[in-house]
Symmetry: D4
């Protein structure tokens, strides 16, 4: 049970790091790679071609004209999660559209702009289709999240008294 | 190996039908349901709560302020694929943002606006993490797609001679 | 005469606080709750189901794929005011469209992005349909606002002399 | 219990007509007026000034640089519902922003672009804060809506058998 | 030869100040007023009704749902220049569309978002249709502007040597 | 008292024709010219240079990357009204931004997308700063417009009885 | 002197055909190929790798999440012209951003949405850096274009007499 | 082998400087000029008319209603690269659309918003159609870029060990 996060640039790591934390929390093994659809296209394709041997899922993170997730999805049969990175202009709208608007035949499972935490959680959900143990952990996570919201509500009630 | 497509309105069916065709092609069992996050919220939550017993994955299709996929994802531990439906105004941009911009903790795997075929293909990719046979079919599908592109290229070369 | 403000996250409180000030000024009783359409969906629905017993109106504040006001409006018969919160990307456009573009049958009374003051004022206007005393206060408020504008104009005339 | 719908142009009537149908269904008395914030500004202000005497709520429908609802709200203490009309360009985005982005102090309760049905339903919800009988009708309407969704789901199950 | 700048809020003055500087430079007499289409609608209309007696042109500056220029143009026969002010969200796109997208019959001469300098220059151009002396000054201004560009180019050539 | 309408392409004439009708109605003499900032740049500049001799105002109509009004305004001291033409993609947003977002120093008085009628009315307003007779006609026009709205309102009241 | 047009899908040909006409007019030899960055990624990379041997320039045409031009530019050293194709939703904005917003290091020379004629003209301009004869033809083309504008202007003057 | 970068304003130089660095690296001779389509239109046209004598390519950088590259392309037969500069509002979207959406007949080879590095690299690619030595350098640059990505990937692997 191992997945891989591929970033178009190592400058995306501060965002991607939140994916890593989630994967650690869930005990999902992972690699993080820097690879570019534009600067190292053959590396990226070669990697995607062999990804199935080592990984069960790919997260592709990229900004601007964000082609990396789509290109990986063009090669690999693995599910590819696309994480649009907010860039210096256009607030990430270019990244989002470049990732989500994939043509028929090659889907990319897109999450919110800079939604690194959700990219990893989606990976967990997908893996838990196969791994029952992960499903159980995810259910606990959901319950914790609910409890956290309830705790915040309770704290607010205290504060507003 | 059964999935469910939930539509916010039966008027979404002409788009959703293309998902159904893909699922048939791949031999994935499916149900299609009409359920609304706004008009039948308790039905939707109750459904989502029990979805895990019967299904391995949910596709949620909705337009405008498209809350259905997110609400189902709030309840169920299953992966939820979000299919934004193009509505009468704003070209589906409202549907896309309402589905993809989910807050931390509750991801929805979003595909392109009206990308019904890709929603189903993503479902196939996710299931094939578990079901090897589906992976094999998907690999064949990818190869067919490639051959179709090559055939179209060949036809064009003929035509342009 | 009591209303409730429901926030999707307690991080929305710095914005929502301006609603609270307005309600205090008008002497409208209120509760503020943290509840999430995605993290505590059953709590939210249960709350909405019973809201009518205690409250006369709901203000729902949420950011990004802002489903909370719409989901509350799906359950409750009370008027629901939607307050789109500006998030870290897209300048609140995602929140606005997720709240205002509600499908036929389930309206949400949407105010401007981060328009917390207006959300509360709209609540006052709505309540004053029933409560004559509130109408009188609101008329005074409008007059004060006009006087403030006139005072600023006068101050500017002084300054520019 | 009477409300008024004010349109910026009689060309908005085909959209506004759906509001009228809803009001009829709920037995809410109404007037429909054509009045322009730009072409008959004094009429509009005079009307707004006296609206309180005859009406309990205003729906303002307008397209493009849609100032009518905001201008009425500037004068009247009544709640003003803003209905953005989709115009020949920009898909109604100009109407929506011109109506919803009201500055602090003067809210307009905005519904979806061309959401005429919802404008009327919101009026019903607001009035039902005062008129218990209307609340009961609205609850029935919500129940009918839910039943309609369930019926459509059932019909689809038949069809897909 | 006197014009008036009307601002929706005195918080717009830091932007509007650049208009004032241009008017001073050209020797155009001016008043600056704070007046609101929403908070002091009757003042605004009354002002617009009488503006012709004292002024030859109106500049209307406003942000968000920026109705002020359009409302003044609805009343007065004077040319109205609209200056969209960038607000805290949406980068001034709401202000721009609220001002420029005026319906048939009531034009507003719109300049760029925060384009205060240009609003005043446009006023000068319009007045110079009547006042030959202003035209001559404007021609000099254009020539100065050209010389400034040429000087900057020369300075750059020095710097890059 | 003569003005000129310059179009970037003769395909803009069906829109521009509405400007012509307004000018005829007001008895403003006009020429209509086809000239392109891109295809006949020297013609356009030469024309703009001499425009002052024959005309008192320029209307520039153009679509897509609509440079014509800005380029004419760069040369001529006359007021330039910019009329953004809706093109085959992007709904005229490209034309609008290319015309309205002029840099400091060279304003273009922009009207709504395809707002040909308003372009001509703005011309009338500007000319009437100088020509009192035109002001009187414009005042009548405004009054007619108001009467037309009132007549439509009356007709609607009849119809809805 | 041969170039190649690569389309992501043969459904782009009706747009691309206008490029072909321009190339014919200028006597530039060309191939047109169908190849997909997503469906035949290895073909596309292999093609791009060898393109230099046969071609002097690449035009890449694609819609939606339009990765083809960027991916070709990632591999080949040839200049790559990107032609964004308008798709069924979002009016080509997704195609434009996916093509033009390329990250540092790998430029794509982007033309207007559906600007097939301009893609070919840009190719001619680029080739004419090397081929003087093409420069001469292009100068004639520019002159013809100017004459056509002048002829249209003359025709309009006739018509408006 | 000399090119020219023309900026609409010397305030664009901090962005344009990155183009200069790339040109230096590749040994491409260049001039940088300040010239404005609006403030010095005749200078700009005159310059463009003669550009061919001295230069082989033009880079035009401009912000807001960015007409400079299009106007230069209207005159010169040289390929014109358009570099949209991000301005104080709208995040450069106005610059991008004003440059890329050129009408048929006059293309501008547009790069990303603030993509100064890519503007220069595109120039290198275009020139290398003619100058084989530049092609070789560009191939090396591409290889260096790939190596840099691989080095970053390797460094990350170290770090994550």
């Amino acid at each position: 049970m191992k997945i891989v996060i591929v970033m178009g640039s190592d400058s995306d790591f501060p965002v991607v790091e939140k994916s890593v934390e989630v994967l650690k929390k869930f005990g999902v093994e992972y690699d993080v790679r820097v690879m570019s659809a534009h600067r190292t296209p053959f590396d990226a394709l070669e990697f995607a071609k062999n990804a199935e041997k080592e990984y069960e899922l790919i997260i592709g993170a990229a900004g601007k004209a964000a082609h990396l997730p789509g290109v990986l999805a063009g090669v690999s049969c693995l599910p590819v999660i696309g994480l649009p990175i907010k860039s210096s202009t256009l607030d990430g709208m270019d990244s989002l559209l470049s990732i989500v608007q994939m043509p028929s035949g090659v889907p990319v499972a897109t999450v919110a702009i800079n939604g690194a935490e959700n990219a990893a959680l989606l990976a967990v959900q997908i893996l838990s289709v196969k791994y029952e143990a992960l499903r159980i952990k995810y259910r606990e996570y959901k319950e914790e999240m609910a409890q956290a919201v309830r705790a915040k509500d309770a704290a607010l009630q205290e504060r507003l008294k």
